[in-house]
């Protein structure tokens, strides 16, 4: 019975829902996890890489993490082709702004602009919404480091730590417990990201080819966006496993009765 109202995006259902938007979010719920954590000295983005087929030609260095401009990077969850359209548009907007004003676009303005477009697709034209949620990590001189999340409805919010994609609810509740505001530096954020990803990803064991990590930091008045090389990801995973093993060893004597 709900079916009658969801073939077109631009109409409400009798219960006041936009089914196409909800279905888009459903699609994202099945996509690879992405999480973002705001640290006092930077931002960490982590993403689950799903395409690990050996036959894949290494055309892109990163599957889900895209640099948008000099001061912003984003990661996507959802339909990849939709994501490509949106990230391309985000890059174009940034460059148009840079051409017009000679300075980087403020983070929230970029997010807000794209979200207005996403919203338009839920109200006009009879086109389906974009099946993508994005996490934006950026820096500007007014608000410093910022983390935003946007979804197919065109809604966006600023976050201290958040997650999108598969198992995102579990990840968000983990982050809620473990994220320490004001006490988190980049390295703490990286460790926390690995901890959360290892619990929420399908894989039994974390390996560098399944995980993408990127950081955004500032040195000497310049923004540095780095997708971590495999070696560094491996080292971080190893650290994490060592800590896990230590935790397990500590709790063993007390549980043995």
């Amino acid at each position: 019975m709900a079916r009658r109202y969801d073939t077109r995006t631009t109409i409400f259902s009798p219960e006041g829902r936009l089914y196409q938007v909800e279905y888009a979010m459903e699609a994202i719920g099945h996509a690879g996890t992405c999480l973002g954590i705001l640290a006092s000295d930077g931002i960490v983005l982590a993403a689950e890489r799903r395409n690990t087929n050996k036959l894949l030609d290494e055309v892109f260095f990163s599957e889900k993490i895209y640099q948008l401009n000099a001061d912003m990077v984003c990661s996507v969850a959802g339909i990849t082709s939709d994501a490509n359209v949106l990230t391309n548009e985000l890059r174009l907007i940034s460059q148009r702004y840079l051409l017009q004003y000679g300075e980087s676009i403020p983070c929230e303005q970029l997010v807000s602009w794209l979200c207005d477009v996403k919203q338009a697709y839920t109200q006009y034209g009879g086109k389906r919404p974009f099946g993508v949620s994005l996490l934006y990590a950026g820096w500007d001189h007014q608000y410093g480091f910022q983390l935003y999340q946007s979804d197919p409805s065109g809604n966006y919010g600023g976050w201290k730590a958040t997650c999108i994609g598969n198992n995102s609810a579990a990840a968000v509740s983990m982050l809620k417990q473990e994220y320490k505001e004001g006490e988190t530096k980049i390295d703490d954020a990286l460790a926390l990201a690995i901890r959360v990803m290892s619990k929420t990803m399908d894989a039994t064991k974390l390996t560098p080819d399944k995980l993408e990590l990127a950081t955004l930091t500032r040195h000497d008045n310049k923004t540095y966006i780095k997708v971590l090389p495999v070696a560094q990801v491996k080292a971080l995973i190893a650290d994490h496993e060592k800590k896990e093993a230590a935790e397990a060893a500590k709790s063993k004597p007390s549980t043995a009765s």
Partner: protein, 262 residues
Amino acid sequence: MYANPNSIINPSLWPNGPAPGCFFNFPGANVTSTSSSSGIITRTQSPVTTGTSILGLVFDGGVMLAGDMLGSYGSMAKFRSIERTIKVNNSTVLGATGDIADFQHLKAIIEQKVIDEDCADDGFTLKPKALHTWLTRVLYNRRSKFDPLWNTFLVAGIEDGEPYLGCVDKIGTAFSDSKIATGYGAHIALPLMREGLEKKPQMTQEEARALLINCLRVLFYRDCRALNKHQIATITKEGVTIENNIELDTNWEVANFVIGYE
């Protein structure tokens, strides 16, 4: 500054595409006229009401802009209280030479930008260099369509704590310097300003004002389209002050030496 989506990016969501719910008019179906259907000529114009020189000078701690308040209608001194130097915000001032109507057109657009910024209320405000860059793009694009805004602009202000002075002309040539003059000022006043700055590269505000006033006086003597009623705008970290209706003392005794002058 607030990026109004309609001003930067495609104004329509689907350029040249079908309007929702309507039939689509396929392009190239009926080509009747070669020129634009409205028949308006958009070609290099000639300016109508014009403003003469604007002078800009960087001093220790700020920038100063000066210019007279005349709008000349050809050789007629028609409008004698035109403000050719305007405050954009607390850190930026804009001065214009050339067609007054084109200046007023841009002035309205810039004022709307400031309002949009206010509405966005996100802490970002137009900085002098950003305004200069934007102005350059607008002017260059207009000239590329053979429909220029017939002006030379001086953008002055404080950019990241440092004084900034930039110039852009009707064909989109842009540059920045510590001393700039437009119109006749470039020929008459600029050498005087250069001399002053060479003697003392870091002038005080009072010295800069004295230098500019002297230049304005010389311009009033020598530029036939000048008026002895000036504006001086000062921009420092504290903010913007624009003084209007400044009249200078002049000495026309030398006129007696002109043969034929009675």
